[in-house]
Each structure stands twice: as C-alpha cells, then as structure tokens.
C-alpha cells in the first residue's frame, strides 16, 4: 500500500470529476460520490499508516535480519540517547520523470514517511467526517453538487501536497488548495462580503506564496534538485552554503506566514469564516492552514540550519509564532461571532506550531498539528451545529445564542470536550501536545518563548470559557426553536470528540509513551533533535496556568465578578478594546495605506505615462529640440547657428508630425507596412543571396 499511496489523492480527484459530470443526476446529488471516495481514501490511509508502523517497528525492533530494507537501513544516525533510533527507516518513494529540460528533471512522485502517513490519516479522516456532516448541513443548498465537487477537489489537492516528493509538486498542491479555499469561501458569492472575503484570502496568501516560490527556486539553485529528500540531506550534511539556507528559509517562512495565518498576514483567516461552516472546519482549521506548518516540518533541515535553531537564540520563526500566539488569542476575546473566536484561536494555535518548529520542538509541533486538527474541527463543526439547529443560522453569540446546553446536549458535551482539549486540560489531547512544545522550549533554553507559550495557554483557556459561557449557558437569547441536530451532524461530532480525548495518549510523555515520535519523526536526512524528558513541574505549571485562565474567566462571566463595564468607564481600557476591535488596525493598514498607496501610485504613474510619454512623445521631441535650439540661440552666435538650430527644431517637429500619421491606429495600415517590409526584405534576400 505504501508504494501505491498515490491512490489516496487520486480517488477524491476522480470523484471531483465524476460529481461535476453526473452529480446532479444522482439521487443524493453527488454527495454519495464524495463521501464514498473520501471514505475509501480514509481506509487506504489507515492501511498505509498500519503498514508504515509495521515497517518502523520491524526496523527498530530486535529482528534486524528479518526485513531487508536495502539502502534504507543505515547505521545509527543522530544520538538522541533513546533506546531505539539506531536504525534509519527511509521513506518509501515512487515516481517518474514528468518532463526534462536540459539536465533538469521534473519528477512526479510520492514519498511516504511517518509525517506523510500522519497527514494522510488526519486529512482523510477530517475530510470524511466533514463530507458526512455536510450531507445534512448543506441540505437544500442551491449549489450542493458544486460544493461536494469542490470539497473532493480540495481533499485531493491537499493529499497531493502531502504525498509530494518534490517541491514543484508540493507547490502545485499548495496553489490548488488555495484555489479551492478561494472558491469555497465565496460559496455564497451573491453576498458581496463573502466574495470580498474570498478575494482577500486568495490575495493575502498570495503575498506569502511569492516567498514560497522564491524559496523553492533558491533551494533548487542551492541544492541542484527539487527532490525534498535530497534537499534535506544536503542541508543536514552542510553541503549548502549557510547564506543560501538563510535566504531560502526566510523566503519559505513567507509562504508559511501566508498560508498558516501567521502574523502579520493572518488577517484573511477570520474573514474566511464567510464560507460554509464545514469548509471552515476542514480547510480553515484542520487541514489547509496547517499546510504551512507541514511545509516547515517537511523541509525542517533547511529551517533548522537556516535559522540556526539549535543555537538557542531568538530566531524569526519562533518570534513570528510567538507573536501570533498572543495576537490571535487577544483578538479572540473581543469577537461576538463564535466562528471568529475559533478562527482567532486557530491562528493562535498555529502560532504554537510555528513557534514549536522555531524552538526545535519538531515532534511536539507536528503532534500539536495532529491533535489540533481533531479538536478544532470538532469545535467548528459544533459551532455549525449550533447555528444549524440552535440559533437560526446566526453565528452571533451575544444576540442569538445562550442557554443552548439544555436543548442540544450532544453538541454541548462534544463542544465542551473540544474546548477542554483546546485549553490544554489533562487528559485531553491538547494538553499533551501543548505541554510538549512548552517543555521543549524550556529545555532548549528558549525561556522567552516558554513564557509566551504560558501566557498564550492562559488566554486560550480564558477565551474558550467565555465562548462556552456565551453559547451554552445563561438565558436563550435567540428567536428560533432550538433543538438537537440530526445524526449526520452529531455522529461526526462524537467521533471527533473521541479523538480529542484519546489522540493525545499516542505521545503522552508522562506515561512514557512515545509512539508518535517513533512513528512520525524522520530518521533519514534529519537533524539530531533533543527530546525533552517529562518534567512534572513544567506540566503542572502549564496545567495550572490553563486552570487559572478558566477560573478567571469563570469568575468574570459565570459569577459576574470583576470589573464589568470597565470599557465604558476607563478611557485606557476603552482604547485597548477599540484597538482590539479594530484588529490592531492591520486591515486598515493593508487596505488603505499599502494597497491604497500602490493603487494611487500606479494610477498616477499611468496617467503620467499617458500624458507625457504617449501623447507627448512626438510633441516632446519637437519642443525639446526647440528648447535646445533656443538655448543655443541665446548662448551661441545667433546669426551663424540661428538658421541651423531653427531648422533642426522645425525638422524634428515635422518628423514628429509625419511620424504621427504613421500611428494612424488603423490596423490594416500597420498590416500593410508589415507586408510591405516583409516583401522588401524577401526581395533583398533574393537579390543578395544570388
């Protein structure tokens, strides 16, 4: 199965085509094709995961003679100090040359290793659940079939990105998911804000994509190949100059910032909530936005060497991630739209992952990606369930929700599990992964980022408590008749809740389970990373901070303690609130200052070109020459040069006037000149060659 993993992206791609062609004529209007294809992909991904685990266990276990892995079995590389990790398990690769240009080969292929298998599992699982969920959520939508087709295309592109063995293929998948994101955000494009949000998401990520493209090109010229494994190997062995690595990793980081909603390009992600909720869950929480983190993890040696992550000094990657944690979490406090709270929370959690990569916590960051996908998809789908059956298709927590606990028990309990997992409460999934990021940050002596992470954990717990309070507690403030959602919606919620509880136990360092690390961490072409020992004090501190966050928020919202109405009384607090409400004025900066000035400058420049260059070219030559003439008239001997100068000016003007007629604007006259010159030239050729 590992060698045939190309089937996994192929199935949704086929279903995309099939839904477009025949979807409308099927009894369920194409949904059955999408669910079936993605379900089949999920089964295949499970088989692939099982085989990969088998392979790793087989290689690291005692039976060294049993399986011959060919060149895959190398000697012990990297002294992690663990009990295994003496055997390197090479990724399974398969591919062919797509086309060749000179000596450069462009390949299409797959490279399957632990990271890929993990991503395949997460993407197909979440996508399958979202497909099922949408059968009910999107029922009766005017573009139902179209929605399913694009959902399938998105899944296929994301899987293509994940299995790619070279940077070009990765870029293709990367752009395809961006395209699907654009179309799905604008699914209800009849309303202008939705269409605007789609364009904004597309263009903002494109700013980062420029960096990605430059990064890939730089890496190509540095390493001489597009092959990811080869690039990583060369980066680890120091065969690429440090300067080139710095440039490449900085450019690639631009791509991560754009795609994964990192500061300062995070502004598109909250707006992307204009799309249907299943899309938000699948694309803007669980899968597409982690593509940036995946890129960072995939090309980690490049970043590791480029940013000198082992040095323990502050680097750009960790700094961006850390900033994003705080910025995103702070904004989540002032949102009234439940989906926007979750969107800012996603930004903040992605910040954890990027910071994790930046402080050398590769396993922890990828693990957080893994757990976050489940509980954030759960939270988004839960929010969708609330709006679908509880609040009359509104997402406004303050106006249309409240007290829904009584009406929607399944949604409430699963949402609670998701919130606890997000807040990092033991034993839910988020605790294990977040704690591991913090532990590694502490151990690698990134004390600053450890503190940032703790502050972020506090804020996360607090804003999720607020969100749960506003949605599920208090009095019902809406006008509909809230009821529980149908089974197609609640079953995915329950499945995801199960994963949100259990997924963390795959790598629970406190219980000395490190299966995730063994299975996922690459052993070939990968820098030797330190792995943190479990520290009770650190974990307890993280837990205490999260509990404190819940407590403070609980006191404020549930018990009505604390400075209520402070924003109305204290001007400083009001200023802070306004500042947050306006999202740090980043949107204003982008739209008015940057885009505005560029637009203005371009408009002015083209106006100037129009006036001075196109219209004025001919006249300009004449008047310029006339001015030269006048200058000479004043300075030089008037009588001697007079006539010549005037003649020059006049003749230039006349030439201009004559040339003016050549620019008649009549295409046929241009064509006449063209043919006449061709005829003359052929004649010349004929005459001179004989």
């Amino acid at each position: 199965m590992l060698r045939n993993a190309w089937l996994i992206p192929l199935l949704p791609a086929l279903s995309f085509v099939a839904i477009l062609l025949v979807g409308k004529r099927l009894p369920r209007r194409g949904a059955e094709l999408g669910v079936g294809a993605v379900g089949a992909s999920f089964v295949l991904a499970c088989v692939a995961a099982w085989q990969w685990i088998d392979r790793v266990e087989g290689a690291t276990g005692k039976s060294e003679g049993l399986r011959a892995f060919g060149k895959g079995v190398l000697g012990g590389e990297g002294g992690e100090g663990g009990e295994h990790a003496e055997v390197a398990v090479a990724p399974v690769t398969r591919g062919f040359t797509w086309w060749q240009n000179g000596n450069v080969e462009f390949n299409v292929g797959i490279a399957i290793d632990g990271l890929t298998v993990m991503m395949l599992f997460v993407v197909t699982l979440v996508s399958f659940l979202v497909h099922v969920y949408s059968t009910s959520y999107m029922e009766g939508d005017r573009r139902f079939t179209h929605f399913y087709a694009l959902l399938s295309l998105f899944t296929a592109s994301m899987l293509l990105l994940v299995v790619a063995d070279n940077t070009i293929q990765l870029l293709v998948g990367w752009e395809l998911v961006g395209l699907c994101s654009f179309v799905l955000i604008g699914h209800w494009w009849e309303e202008k804000p939705n269409a605007d949000a789609a364009v904004k998401a597309f263009l903002t990520t494109r700013v980062g994509d420029v960096g990605l493209m430059i990064g890939i090109i730089v890496l190509f010229f540095a390493a001489g190949t597009f092959d990811i494994q080869a690039i990583n190997a060369q980066a680890v062995e120091g065969e690429i100059g440090h300067t080139l690595l710095v440039v490449a990793s900085a450019c690639l980081l631009g791509g991560i910032i754009g795609k994964s909603g990192q500061f300062p390009l995070h502004t598109w992600l909250p707006d992307a909530m204009a799309g249907p909720t299943p899309v938000s869950a699948l694309i803007h929480a669980a899968t597409m936005v982690v593509a940036g983190v995946y890129l960072g993890a995939r090309l980690y040696p490049v970043f590791f060497e480029g940013f000198s992550i082992d040095g323990g000094t502050i680097n750009v990657m960790a700094l961006i991630g850390g900033t994003t944690i705080i910025i995103g979490a702070a904004l989540a406090f002032v949102q009234n739209d439940i989906k926007k709270v979750l969107a800012y929370s996603t930004i903040s959690q992605l910040g954890y992952m990027v910071m994790g990569l930046g402080v050398g916590a590769w396993v922890a960051a990828v693990f957080h990606l893994f757990t976050h996908a489940f509980f954030k998809a759960l939270l988004f789908l839960g929010a969708g369930s609330v709006s679908h059956s509880g609040s009359h298709h509104s997402f406004d927590m303050k106006a249309d929700m409240g007290g829904l606990r009584k009406f929607m028990p399944v949604t409430f309990w699963t949402f609670m599990i998701g919130s606890l997992a997000l807040a990092g409460i033991i034993p839910f999934a988020g605790f294990w992964s977040k704690d591991e990021i913090l532990a590694t940050a502490g151990q690698n002596e990134f004390t600053f980022f450890l503190v940032v992470g703790l502050v972020g954990a506090f804020m996360t717990a607090a804003y999720m408590t607020r969100c749960v309070y506003l949605t599920f507690f208090g009095e019902y403030r809406g006008h509909g008749e809230p009821h529980e959602s149908p089974r197609a919606i609640t079953v995915p919620l329950i499945v995801l809740a199960g994963f949100s509880v259990l997924a963390g136990l795959v790598n629970a360092s406190a219980l000395e389970i490190e299966k995730f690390k063994e299975w996922v961490e690459p052993t070939v072409a990968f820098p030797a990373l330190e792995h943190p020992e479990f520290e009770l004090a650190g974990a307890a501190l993280a837990l205490a901070v999260a509990l404190l966050g819940i407590l403070v928020s609980y006191a404020y919202w549930f018990r009505n303690l604390g400075p209520h109405g402070i924003t109305a009384r204290n001007p400083l607090a009001r200023a802070g609130y306004t500042f947050l409400e306006n999202k740090y004025y980043l949107d204003a900066l982008y739209e008015n200052v940057i885009v505005g000035s560029i637009k203005g400058a371009i408009a002015r420049a083209s106006y100037w070109t129009n006036q001075r260059v196109i219209d004025g070219a001919v006249n300009g030559v004449a008047t310029g020459a006339a001015q030269v003439g006048r200058f000479a008239y004043d300075v030089l001997d008037q009588k001697a040069v007079d006539g010549a100068v005037n003649g020059l000016a006049v003749s230039t003007g006349q030439t201009g006037g004559l040339l003016r007629y050549v620019q008649s604007g009549r295409v046929q006259r241009y064509a006449l000149m063209l043919f006449a010159s061709v005829a003359l030239l052929s004649l010349a050729l004929f005459v001179f060659s004989n």
Binding site: L659, R660, V667, Q668, A671
Partner: protein, 99 residues
Amino acid sequence: MALNQFLILSAFLFCTGVYGVLARRNGVLVLMSVELMLNAVNINLVAFSAFVRDVGGQIFALFVITIAAAEVGVGLAIVLLIYRNLDSPDLDRVDQLKG
C-alpha cells in the same frame, strides 16, 4: 512529383489573402482572408512534406488547422464586440490607438 503547381496555388491563395486583409474594411472578410493565408501555408507545408517524405510537415499543418479554429473563435468574438460597440464591422473606425 511536381512541386511547382502546389507552390503556385499556395502563392496565389496567399496573395489573395493578403489583399483581403489589407483592402477589405469588413472585419468578417478580413478574418476570412486570414483563413486563406493560413490555408495557403498549410498547402505549402503539406506539399513540402510530401516532397521531402517527412511526415512532420503534415503534423504541423494539423496544428495550424487547430490553432486557426481557435483564432477564428477569438477573432469573431472581437468582431462581434466591435460591431456591438460601433454598430458596424468597419475596421477603419477602430482607430482609438492613433498617435
């Protein structure tokens, strides 16, 4: 096999086409003349292909036919728009680019 007759035919067609393109004012007729020129080229290609016994020329001619179809599609759309905007297919009136 005699090559000349094909070349003469093709040259004649081509000149007709050139004349049409240069002299006709109606955009549709200009497009038709362009077709004539393209087909003159095709005749040349096929003739030479048969003459030197290399199938490449014929394949090339097939490509030209395909491209010509696409080009006519675009061209007709342009003429249609010109007609809509100016109420006549007269190409002399399309002179907004003049200096």
